[in-house]
């Protein structure tokens, strides 16, 4: 695995103007993003996600620390050539049509004009805005602008994609389209960094996440690892005599259920086989044994609560 993005103690403060105090939007942030993964960059509003992406793209100069993208300094044109970027708020020159706009961006990217035109019509088709490609952008809805922003981001077939809150202004259909597109890109070996405060959007997509809060890294790691820590087991059966219930309760299990389905919840996996032994002794059939993962959402709130009390 090669790191595509390296953040090394990145700090970014904004000087306060007038009566405003200085804010440290990103504080001593270090993590790396590997090639070919979908990397979730999570945090509540104001956590510093956008500021971090701006710094990676060279719009902001770090106050201290730094890092690299493709082994190059932030904002290096050679790196940008391989990057696609979808901002949180897509601001396009409204006098363009999608065709005209993509043509302008293709020229800025130094793409071959003929190839760029073919690619533009493919991308517009793929994102479902081909039928409005000759309409002025000023007449577009927010969702269409978001799609056009995404079309611009993937126009040059980039190796690395930065998406800042990509699903925030899309309808459910649009969200699904974006998800499909991201999975397609991942299958092609592209790297995607996707920032969001909407956890359910990211959960099903990301290989790894970094969670930040008030500019500081709270946690980073593989999604399954983060979520399996501290999670228990749930065993279901369709028969459970009272004797068995008592024995299980003595082991610390919680029994939920009616007379047809019983679920036994254990806080950890230590007593898993003891419980299965009890069930066998009483001749109760095992229907399922499953790890009980907390959702990313639960995890997120747990972490935030923990931080709050610190």
């Amino acid at each position: 695995m090669t790191s595509i993005i390296e953040l090394d103690h990145l700090t970014k403060s904004f000087k306060g103007r007038g009566r405003k105090v200085e804010t440290t939007a990103v504080n001593d942030l270090s993590f790396s993003v590997e090639q070919g993964e979908i990397f979730g960059f999570l945090g509540p509003n104001g956590a510093g996600k956008t500021t971090t992406l701006y710094t990676l793209l060279g719009f902001l100069h770090p106050s201290s620390g730094g890092g690299s993208v493709f082994g190059l300094p932030f904002g290096d044109p050679e790196g940008l050539r391989r990057i696609g970027y979808l901002p949180e708020y897509v601001n396009l020159h409204e006098y363009y049509t999608p065709d005209g706009m993509l043509n302008y961006y293709a020229r800025l990217s130094g793409l071959d004009p003929v190839e760029a035109r073919a690619r533009a019509s493919y991308v517009l088709e793929r994102l479902g805005i081909a039928d409005v490609c000759n309409k002025r952008i000023s007449k577009f809805s927010k969702g269409m602008i978001q799609r056009l922003g995404l079309a611009q981001a993937v126009l040059g077939n980039p190796d690395l994609l930065f998406l800042d809150e990509p699903t925030s202004s899309l309808d459910p259909v649009g969200r699904k389209d974006v998800k499909d597109l991201l999975l397609e890109l991942k299958a092609q070996g592209k790297t995607v960094v996707i920032s969001s405060h909407i956890l359910s959007d990211i959960e099903s997509l990301c290989d790894r996440v970094a969670i930040i809060r008030k500019g500081r890294l709270v946690k980073t790691g593989k999604l399954d690892e983060l979520l399996s820590t501290g999670s228990g087991v749930r065993i279901t059966t369709d028969k459970l005599p009272t004797d068995a219930v008592n024995e299980i309760q003595q082991l610390g299990g919680v029994v939920i259920g009616s007379d047809t389905v019983f679920a036994i919840e254990l806080p950890d996996r230590e007593k898993e086989y003891d419980v299965i032994g009890i069930l066998r002794k009483h001749g109760c059939p095992l229907i399922s044994v499953a790890e009980q993962k907390s959702s990313l959402e639960d995890y997120f709130f747990d972490i935030m609560k923990g931080e709050e009390t610190k």
């Binding site: 904004f14 719009f59 902001l60 904002g75 901002p87 897509v90 601001n91 961006y105």
Partner: protein
């Protein structure tokens, strides 16, 4: 390449602006009114007719016509300067405040390329203005006097140099000051302003003003009013000197502006 793409975008964006159309039409209307006014004067004072024989009358007439011509050039020149200043002070800063700049700079475009591209786009618009206005003034002069004095097109070309010079200073200042403040400062930062102020001062203040007069760029160097009055033209060397002077200021302002822009946080 990127410079040209940005310049073309800036140019075609501006061409679509309604206020620009208003300015262009306004400038042409002013010239039209001026021509009408001159024609009216001529018909009211027959002495102004071409055929006037008496030398004294002829001299008077030429002075009057010259004076009117100078006023006309001063007006279209001021419009050109304000146009260049307005376009250039806001060209980069408006993209920063709208946030479009980040979309563009996420492409492999260096900041100085963006800056120069914006500048070039504005130069082209001021060029279109100069061509429109210049063609009209030259045509009118030609039909009215039966010949085109070379000083007229030269004066128009100098107005273009002046407008771009003042605009470039404003564009660089706008990377440091608020655009509207930059516009005012650039407009007033002419060397001649401080010579004028020095006239009201004494002692150290006066020397400071004089120092500023020598340090700051001269805008008056591009005004050919005496030439228009006398119908005389500058030497080739004098023209070359002015062109070089203008280009030098442009280069300095582009370097200063682009480096200030480079250091800026685009949040």
């Amino acid at each position: 390449m990127s410079i040209l793409a940005v310049a073309k975008d800036q140019f075609s964006d501006l061409l679509r602006r309604r206020y620009l159309l208003v300015i262009f039409i306004g400038a042409l209307a002013i010239i039209g009114m001026w021509v009408g006014y001159l024609a009216l004067m001529k018909s009211l004072f027959p002495a102004m007719q071409q055929g006037a024989q008496d030398a004294a009358t002829k001299g008077m007439t030429e002075m009057m016509i010259g004076g009117l011509q100078v006023a006309l050039h001063a007006i279209i020149g001021s419009i050109g300067v304000l146009l260049a200043l307005g376009l250039m002070c806001f060209s980069v800063t408006s993209e920063v405040s709208k946030g479009t700049v980040r979309m563009i700079l996420s492409r492999p475009v260096r900041r100085y390329e963006f800056f120069i591209g914006k500048w070039l786009g504005c130069v082209c618009i001021v060029g279109v203005y100069t061509l429109l206005v210049g063609t009209m003034v030259c045509t009118y002069t030609y039909y009215s006097f039966g010949r085109l004095l070379p000083v007229i097109p030269l004066s128009i070309a100098m107005l273009f140099l002046k407008a771009i010079t003042v605009g470039s200073i404003g564009m660089a200042l706008a990377m440091w000051l608020r655009p509207i403040v930059a516009l005012l400062v650039a407009y007033l930062a002419a060397a001649e302003t401080f010579l004028f102020i020095a006239g009201f001062m004494h002692g150290i203040a006066k020397s400071v003003m004089h120092t500023l007069f020598y340090a700051l760029p001269s805008y008056k160097a591009f005004d050919l009013y005496t030439g228009i009055m006398n119908g005389t033209i500058m030497s080739g060397a004098e023209i070359a000197y002015r062109v070089a002077y203008a280009v030098l200021i442009w280069a300095l302002m582009l370097i200063a502006g682009a480096s200030l822009f480079q250091r800026r946080d685009l949040a």
